[in-house]
Amino acid sequence: MTVTDGPRILTSRFGHPDSYTLARYLETGGYEGLRKALGMTPEAITAEVDAASLLGRGGAGFPAGRKWSMLRKGPLPYLTVNADESEPATFKDHMLLERDPHQLIEGAVIAAYALQVERVFIYIRGEFALAIERMEKALDEAYGHRAVGRDIFGSGFSVDIVIHPGAGAYICGEETALLESLEGKRGFPRIKPPYFPAAIGLYGEPTVVNNVETLSNLPWIITNGASAWTALGAGRSTGMRLFALAGHVRNPGVYELEMVKTTFRDLIYAPVLGGGILGGRELKAIIPGGVSAPWIGPQDLDVPLGQDEVAAKDTMLGSGSIVAMDETTCVVRAAWRITRFFWRESCGQCTPCREGSGWLEKILLRIEQGAGRENDLDLLMDACDNISPGIVWPPAQTTICVLGPSIPSAIASGIRMFRDEFLVHIKDGRCPHA
């Protein structure tokens, strides 16, 4: 078990109470990656990020270097940073924004230079008030330090950064909805094609949208080189990654771990990490990558925390959030709460998602409250099938964005793994855990 062997890349300053200040940042090697980057050619930086095989950390896991090379060559108007972290139980970007805002600014300027971008918009989830304040303060310091703005470090490269607060809508974490919101509209996802941001993005211009954690890795990758990064992890999952551990564990929190080298068992049970299940109880199920991901069980504890390794279990590492549920958990209630979330957050454009989520929520609630009907499980699966035909993984899509097809995950997992528990609710008219 190598739970503590890897370097601390993203969280190296988290232990300092003043980790968010420019003074601390400069004292700990801050902005050295940017200085080095500005001495390289933009193509060389893209090549380095490509060679690092840095997989995007927002949820989809798309390689950042390839995303960049999908854009037209030459100057680009906009880079957008997705700091709208809202996937339930995901809280790693929130920590990065609050505790190391300069690291994100440095990464964003490196990306802006590589792509020859004119302006960077950092779209921060509105609820993150402290993060917004710290980012604004850090940005002011960065302008003063000449790490942002005109003629950065005398390189002849200039770029502005704008911090844009959201106002509370999960769907704005979806990149096209984020761009709509940034244009001052409702966060309605755009249909792809044609509205791939790389082709038609912000204000109709080609736009890159990168996640906070993805960009925060760039200073280290440029300073230490792609080979140092690919020496960490295995296969396609290179480098370190933040895992947000929550639920029934002794020590919930954000842990920076080497990809693939750590398993779910390590994360949940290692004394220096999760510390085991609360009260020494038994583990019942794991939600491995945000509530959009299908669940896995105790038999999968030895699966390594790597993108392909988790995908092989017909689920995903997604946003890097892992929720442990112990034996006292009512799975009907868990599935209901997750479904209620999607119902509240559906933007309402597409019928299967808007209507389906509401019906599913009502059926799950009545089962949980002891008023379930005999054919309710079939009804649930039928409604799920209408949203995402076949209820397979990766899911089929009948909607503009992936929120819809994310809805069946919890329900289908719950029924597949704990069918008897659902049936007991219906037959006995009450929750066995209540």
Binding site: T41, G149, P165
Partner: protein, 226 residues
Amino acid sequence: MTSFTPQTKHLRPDILERATNIIGLYPHRRSALIPICHLAQEQDGWLTPEAIADIAALVDVTEAEVLGTATFYEMLHTEPVGRYLISICTNIACMLRGAYELMDHAEERLGVRAGGTTSDQMFTLEDAECIADCGRAPCLAVNYRFFGDVSSESFDALVERLSSGELDDEVPPHGTLSRVARKGGLQVDAETVSRERSQFARAAQERARASEAADPGGNERKQKSS
């Protein structure tokens, strides 16, 4: 944009000045709609019809468009909210650690159901989706300032401290999102960008030509394959 002079009646001069600065950060005025809604809430505690009219004028859209946009977002309130908006997260990570029991307690303590406001307009209680502080579940936010590992006892203590004004420095009244405003506007003008980017483009072309000259065979092969 020089001839554009929006007519406003309600927003304070200091708020208007900040709004104008924000508009200047974007290529299109409408992008400033949500940030200015936050400013209006800072002034009034919620989005009043008068503020909506001003915002419409500032970003050059109809009042209906401002209202239609604002109502999409959880944080923008078109009805009055208490001085303190207490958002208790009940999503999965907090639910597993007692969020609904905390909600029951909060409803009893404040004497309102989730969604309601106390009669003295001090507290609005809200059943919130995940606020991304799951390492300290169950957690809540007061005007988006986060409090973790909340028990019934610590909830009561928090309500006391908010009521007495003890937390005024930490928790501003509802509507104030960021107490740090951006200091300057944009630094990089269009002319600078176009000059710099064409310099970089020329340099890139020269590098491409140089590598072509150094490796003509490679270039030939590329042409054949394409």
